[in-house]
């Protein structure tokens, strides 16, 4: 094994520090902002030294925002709950539907399979606004407008193609011979899928699920158009701090910290799968 010289180690350390600073500085600054009032945030010149306050978090959690002229009712925590509920259930439904479908597209070559797979992928091509107005009308006719069920269904436009196409690639990368060997040993098709294919594609499924979760979490337009105020996700709710009577930067920063927490925690937890999953197949010979 080749040993690095001291100079190389130092340079590497400097480069890593610079990269971490570059990427983490905005998040660090937002973190610091979340403990400040508007007055200290907006002072000239800006300073990293201040007397920290928990007011921003307190007002977000209590739902009462002291505005410049009056107390404002905000529903940030229910927005956060909506985001969590919509993203988790959409990804769960997406995985339940998408993983078996991906396996079928990877293993079973049937007539029209590519056409169906591309049709599903094309959901990602359509600009959301193009499909939303017709969807609004249909949803009103069939009673799905302003329901969580309707939203979870529409969220499949985001998560299903993503899961399907990513997971399909992982299934294709698993040598079919392993599955055939298991089948020859007398196991059923379903058992082979469950015991062999699923565990082997596990990191890929985790990576696809995580990406789908992030896409679902960041979605903005579907709930805005299709649902009323009580079902809005955090992406819409966060805009409530930009008011006619001023921008509440402190609450925005606290809101960002709270809203990135679930994806951040999930990404940290699933980092190993994510890296493993995304690099799987990248080095095949």
């Amino acid at each position: 094994m080749q040993k690095n010289s001291n100079l190389e180690n130092v340079l590497r350390g400097v480069a890593i520090t610079a990269i971490i600073l570059f990427f983490m500085f905005p998040i660090l600054w937002i973190f610091l902002m979340s403990f400040q009032t508007n007055e200290t945030i907006l002072r000239v010149p800006p300073s990293p030294f201040f007397e920290p306050t928990l007011t921003n978090y307190r007002s977000l959690i209590s739902g009462k925002l002291e505005g410049s002229t009056a107390t404002l009712e905000i529903a940030f925590m229910s927005n956060l709950y909506n985001s969590l509920f919509l993203s988790v259930t959409s990804v769960t439904v997406g995985l339940i539907l998408g993983v078996p479908a991906a396996y079928a597209f990877a293993r079973l070559k049937f007539r029209g399979s590519e056409d169906i797979a591309f049709t599903l992928l094309s959901f990602r091509f359509a600009p959301p606004l193009l499909v939303l107005l017709p969807l609004t009308i249909y949803f009103q006719q069939i009673g799905l407008a302003d329901t969580y069920g309707g939203l979870i269904w529409v969220y499949q436009l985001i998560v299903l193609p993503l899961i399907l196409w990513i997971v399909r690639g992982y299934f294709e990368d698993i040598p079919a011979d392993i599955e055939y060997a298991y089948r020859i040993a007398g196991h059923s098709f379903w058992a082979t899928f469950r015991k062999i294919a699923l565990p082997l594609a596990g990191p890929g499924i985790a990576a696809a699920g995580l990406l789908a979760f992030i896409f679902a979490w960041n979605n903005f337009i579907f709930a805005l158009v299709l649902a009323s105020a009580d079902k809005q996700p955090v992406t819409v709710g966060a805009l409530a701090f930009i008011t006619a009577s001023g921008i509440n930067y402190g609450q925005i920063a606290a809101g960002i910290m709270l809203s990135i927490a679930p994806t951040f925690a999930l990404a940290l937890y699933a980092q190993r799968y994510l890296v493993e999953g995304l690099s799987l197949g990248a080095v095949k010979g």
Partner: protein
Amino acid sequence: MYEKEKKLAKSYIDGKVSRRSMLRGMASMGVTASTAGVLVNAAATQALAQNGFDWKKYSGTTVKLLLNQHPYADAMIANLDNFKELTGMDVEYDIFPEDVYFDKVTAALSSGSSEYDAFMTGAYMTWTYGPAGWIDDLNEYIGDDSKTNPDYNWEDMLEGVRKSCAWNGQPGGALGSDDAKQWCIPWGYEQNNLTYNSRMFNEAGLTVPTNIDELASTAAEAKAKLNGVYGIGVRGSRSWATIHPGFLSAYANFGQKDLNVSDDGMLSAAMNTDVSRNMHEKWVKMIQDSGAPDWSTHTWYQAGTDLGAGKSAMIFDADILGYFMNGGDNAEAGNLSFAPFAANPEAKAPTPNIWIWSLAMANASKQKDATWYFLQWASGPEHALFGATEMDFVNPVRKSVWADAGFRSRLDKNYPGYVEMHDISAPGAQIYFTAQPLFFDLTTEWAATLQKMVANEVPVDEGLDQLAQSVDRQLKEAGLG
């Protein structure tokens, strides 16, 4: 609960005790000023219930509103129980942040949804919603004695504001003409005038500018004398909202129009006249010399935040933006003053172009008469006075509220110069744009041209000629020119 307090409030409404005595009495009973306001309005609402109008006609009905997150909506919600008690109706509402509000409105209206019976809108938006058949002409309700209570007093609305919400649907048609349809009811409005930081003005020995040349020179002087402060805040983003506040108010003051309307109703660009060129040159130079360094990104929010944080010496923008910045936890709260502004030295008075938050009725609503009950209450004199005196429902659109001594003294006390500014500029306050369906496209292009001029990408006269050509072409393509 609150029986004694209610009696005291009723005595005040009946004129038996003064406002000051009433408030002192309430305070002695441990009632806060805002609760006292709600109680006073409850008494006023009871008086309203006795005006012979059948307020309970739609008792048990629920109307649903789509609201923008705004102090006007807050004021209405604070007073909503009185409406429910008066009518026996229920009101549900959805509130969306302003950033996405009009997307939500457009989606709801264009899909023909009957979910929302009424909603907040700007008058400019009704130039799209009205001809598309998405909203109702409210004249048929206002003029119908069986539907409108006798104390509604439509004529009490400021004339320029009322007329600015009415249009006959003909491109170029005059606002408020005899054949105009009342697409919306004005609720609260903004004039564009000067809000300046009197602390900074005193410190730098500046005087309040009274025309565009003085505005530019005062802004330059402020920038030179005050460390790290820029002279004048005006909006600059590539949006129609850059044109409509200070800029169009100044432009109209020079007697300039956005579009010409020929006798046969055809429209053509009117912004490349000599007077317009001259005004544009002054405006562009003022921004280059003393505007915000990142002017081209400035919207309502940046213009206001910088003024409140002490980064700018003054703004030529909505008066209520200055009003909001003079309170709360803004660093300069309490230091801001207000002044009317006529850009043209030869003009007799200011001509503020206005933004009007209004209420409109969705055409798809299935309970229009009941919805009108809500609209007439929410835009009625009692709620206007409650909102203006107890909440931040400014600027009121009713003359009676502006005549109210309590309201005037409240403003005078905390917002120096505000009442005088309003009184001087209100007669000339109206929408100065030509009503036509390409409004948003053409004004956005105008803002983009201003950006190019300020960035020295194009000289002012050449930029205006290019803009006029483009406007004419678009009008022709749309069959309007």
